[in-house]
Point group: C2
Chain length 347, copies 2
């Protein structure tokens, strides 16, 4: 529903630069189309690069109206915020309506579907704009049954100690490195941001429990049949998260990975907003490996560190510490590249 | 949506007595209302007890019409079959329509919702009968976050080596034994049959991934606030099932159990319809315990065996073998009672 021709305004009111706006940052970094503006009244007049390092200098505006008046060619408003639970804040509805009035198409990755709100759907129809509710499952999925065993395609899944720490980014960097090496590789999106970036995928956390694993299996079978040699699957959540571990396990069993990259955010001691302590990387390696399917035991082969905001020397120390603890190669593929972790996957 | 006053015809065409008709057998054994007939043309003229041991002698008819003509007071048709995947077989639709014409209310536990079929919904409205799609999530659920830690209520979850082997039955027998001992105890249903039996519960495998654990947490918080001393939660699936392990883990993390009873069907060597081998009971004890939340490590305290169809001496041998292998008390609570396993939970 998005092509490289779209001109996108990202809506991140009061949230740009913080964790809940990871959709915004991910889309700016990896999305295919031009981003013409960001809405966050706190940073009006600044640019994305003033707030988040290594981003391009996309201008930030105070409102959708202002952004659209400065860039009249904008044709999409993309909701760049993903609050826990995925509910759509009621206070944003006036902005959505205003955007549709301004003839902007809407891309929404939250659990609340805008196309289910009659007033919004009606207005969109009147104004002839589309609403893409990325997470809305739009078809039936089968029950997974390890059918990927029949194909030689290598499968790498990024797993994590916690959610929202960069599993999508690591998978994207691995895909980029693999492509640069001439591998016939692909990225498989399982979350709203990844789906916006790659244009398709599986909205796994919005799919009914029985069909989650079947959905990712089906998506991987599709590329396996196209003779891709390696697929990098975007992981979700954490196997020890009280709320969404079920999604994590469905991905692990449905995607039947050969290799896992364990992602971790430097300094994170507890799973966010929970009382679950991250004891060690080893703890998570043990749990992920012990609960992987005996049909194809998945092995953690590398550690993807998110060292955002740390200095070069701090980063180096953390990489060394992770390697010492686990005996596995570790790296921050955003600061460096995906090459080191890719080599661990190809070994 | 069902009370003790309803008179139920169970629809189990071509399936009564086999695994896919476990809903039928479970409802006959534990349901609150009178069952006036079963539909399965293969056994027309026989009774339930001719086909499945220890069942009452409910008459079996060849069709809904025949059943209704023999018992004109029947007011509910309950779909007693749960095929893997939960799809509603199209060839049953004429029977459903006929039943509604005969003024029967419909109770359906499959993933396909009859109330979503305009023709069926319209007919039901005309005839003034209800359609209870048990698995249809009818509200929003929160994200789970180990809130049960704040309550003293003991929680026991039945887990399994495989699905459809008797986890609901073990939980029901434990609840019965606890009530007989004067414990303020309750059964928490998580599947269609359990919900039909107890009149409420959480259709966990039909809930979107992110909200599965939150749904069971909310249901348990409800009873914890009513000062129940012990809750027995019906488990689902298997932690090593390629298709629905995500549901299993969501239940384990959302219900935050103190104790687990591992259920196993005697003679089952592979997870049904999969290539996953059941190596040993110990294998499953290890996986369940290692993936339980560190906030409250769940311990397997007993083995619930399903020895259906085996002789007394065969049963005794299997119970002894399970106890020798695991060092835990084992029993078939249907053949004996829930007392032995309950004692293990109360220790």
């Amino acid at each position: 529903m998005l092509t490289s021709k779209n001109k996108v305004i990202i809506f991140a009111q009061d949230a740009f630069g913080i964790d809940t706006a990871k959709t915004a940052v991910g889309f700016i970094k990896y999305g295919l189309c031009e981003i013409v503006g960001i809405v966050d009244k706190r940073f009006c007049g600044k640019t994305a690069s003033d707030i988040v390092e290594k981003l391009p200098s996309v201008p930030i505006f105070s409102s959708v109206e202002e952004a659209k008046s400065k860039r009249t060619d904008a044709d999409v408003l993309l909701i760049g915020i993903a609050p826990a639970g995925g509910n759509f804040p009621q206070e944003w509805l006036p902005d959505i309506k205003k955007s549709i009035q301004l003839k902007l198409n809407i891309v929404n990755g939250l659990h609340d579907f805008l196309s289910d709100i009659p007033e919004i759907a009606g207005l969109a129809k009147d104004k002839n704009v589309f609403i893409w509710d990325v997470r809305k499952p739009n078809r039936k999925y089968p029950i997974a049954n390890a059918r990927l065993l029949d194909y030689p395609m290598q499968i790498v899944l990024t797993v994590g100690t916690d959610g929202a720490i960069g599993k999508m980014t690591v998978a994207l960097e691995l895909t980029k490195s693999a492509s640069q090496k001439g591998k016939h590789s692909c990225f498989i999106a399982t979350g709203q941001t990844g789906m916006m970036i790659s244009g398709r995928g599986v909205p796994i956390d919005a799919i009914a429990g029985d069909f989650m694993a079947g959905a990712i299996e089906e998506e991987l079978l599709r590329v396996a049949k196209q003779n891709y040699s390696i697929a990098f699957v975007e992981g979700q959540g954490s196997i020890l998260h009280p709320g969404w571990s079920g999604v994590t396990l469905a991905l692990l069993h449905g995607s039947l990975p050969h290799k896992l990259i364990l992602c971790h955010k430097a300094g994170r001691e507890y799973l966010k907003s929970t009382k679950v302590k991250i004891e060690s990387l080893k703890q998570f390696i043990d749990v992920y490996e012990s609960v992987s399917l005996p049909l194809r035991k998945a092995k953690v082969v590398g550690i993807g560190l998110n060292t955002f905001g740390l200095s070069e020397s701090e980063t180096r120390d953390l990489v060394n510490a992770a390697e010492d603890e686990t005996g596995l190669p570790a790296d921050d593929p955003v600061k460096n590249s995906g090459d080191k972790l890719l080599n661990a996957c190809l070994r």
